[in-house]
Amino acid sequence: MLLPSPKWLDTGSNAWQMAAATFVGLQSVPGLVVLYGGIVKRKWAINSAFMAMYAFAAVMVVWVLWAYNMSFGEQLFPFWGKPHPAISAAFMLQQATIPAAASGMPPLGFPMATMMFFQFVFAAITVIILAGSLIGRMSFKAWIIFVPLWMTFVYTVGCFSIWGGGWLAQLGTLDFSGGYVIHLAAGTSGFVAAAVIGPRIRQDRDHFPPNSLLMALVGAGILWLGWNGFNGGDPYFANADASAAILNTNLCTCVALLVWTIMDSMAYGKPSVVGAINGMIAGLVGITPAAGYVNGWGAIIIGVCAGIIPWFVMNKVQTTALFQKVDDTLSVLSTHGVAGLMGGLLTGILANPDMIEYIGTEKDAPGVSGTGWLYGSFHQFMLQVYAAAFIIVFNVVATFVILKGISIFVSLRMDEATLRVGDDAVHGETAYNFGDGEEIPAIAE
């Protein structure tokens, strides 16, 4: 008799984990690829999209060859796992486990290949988000080099420390799906990189209208619903907490979108769809560290904050002369960095001990959930502060060093002539070809 799989495999959880990973993958490709492609000025549409697409591909290679095990493998240092390839048949097909964190969860019901792919799409989207700060002037060659280095030396550290069972995990930091590991890291590193690389050319900073808001909405929409996989996949089981995380994610996002739209209307007189997209992203990011730890009321509170705080940073702080020194093209600092930080801290306040992620069956193992300041654990809040500080400081330093290093070998910026032209100079392509020669549609006679 043939069996489809070993006993430890739970087809339901594997089914969900594979679907969730696919949704997260779709967030990057085509999600962010076309969100970037549409929201930038026409001359940068292809370059921005291609930065995202390249990053997705490059991260994969790094991931399977060494970075997965640096993030989720056996501990080398309290903040790093041992690098080694993860693509032998035996490794791919064995029951998934995160050695240093295994004691905190039930035995997993899917194989390593699922875990590796699921975690890959998270790693990839992180550096794609980071790209949003750098659009419109970073040399493609420098980007090609930056992605694998950042992945290897920066992402893995935050990831192992918080998710891989490293020192922050040991302390008890809560980060459900990456408020810190992903969004705070991307926002911080993106801002630093934007500073090091320098701003877009004057005329691009002055005029940077989205070339196609509908295209941006395609990407934004996939990003939104794809987040069901992002936050719903993180319990690693198709369990009740996964369901709650999905509901919370959408609830918070809806609230943030509405609040942001109100803020826009009050400040600028009109509800803008670009604003709605920003509010949506802030909400998605804000709930990410909290999704399975808070109840619906918590999600609403985070949503309200996500509609206000990142709005304020984007519209009132990042527009000040001081902050304008750094040209953070898509305001990743606000919508990811600040929103992720805010979400992480609010998790330390609002985490509800009744939101059980895993059920405990013994007295001394009371199940897994988080307990925020509001429910009595000020300690949890302080842990969130420490972890944020670590992520921020480490990202600032490491990203700075990496870029300075790269700049010894290749220029981080395109040259002036290329910057004036955009896509056509970099890739020999333009996003739209409407009027070239005879492809103008002739009309029936």
Binding site: D206, H207, F208, P209, P210, D264, Y268, S272, V274, G275, N278, M314, N315, K316, Q318, T319, L330, S331, S334
Partner: protein, 112 residues
């Protein structure tokens, strides 16, 4: 023969077209242009940064016509395109030396 070039507000195109039709003009060529003048553009806000869009979308109408029709056509355009707000646009009249209908080879007033 003359050529009238009128720069008008986009949503006035239909009215202008009808007005020209009434004075007997059945042919014209239209294009989308951007105008820059006294009418100031509006502000757009993206990701917290405000941009001034200083080129405003306008429609350019080109009509070649017999000298005798010019006055009436100009008047018709002006009446139809007017909203009495800044940015209503301009009408320019130029002289045309020849006009040829490609299909028939007819020239002059017969061609338009």
């Amino acid at each position: 023969m003359k050529k009238i070039e009128a720069i008008i507000k986009p949503f006035k195109l239909d009215e202008v077209k009808d007005a020209l039709h009434e004075v007997g003009i059945t042919g014209m060529t239209v294009s989308e242009v951007k105008g820059f003048g006294r009418q100031k553009g509006h502000t757009e806000v993206y990701r917290g940064a405000e941009y001034i869009i200083d080129f405003l979308p306008k429609i350019k109408i080109e009509v070649v016509l017999d000298d005798r029709l010019v006055e009436r056509a100009v008047q018709a355009i002006q009446d139809a395109a007017r909203t009495d707000k800044i940015g209503d646009g301009k009408i320019f009249v130029l002289s045309v030396e020849h006009a040829i209908r490609i299909r028939t080879g007819e020239t002059g007033p017969d061609a338009v």
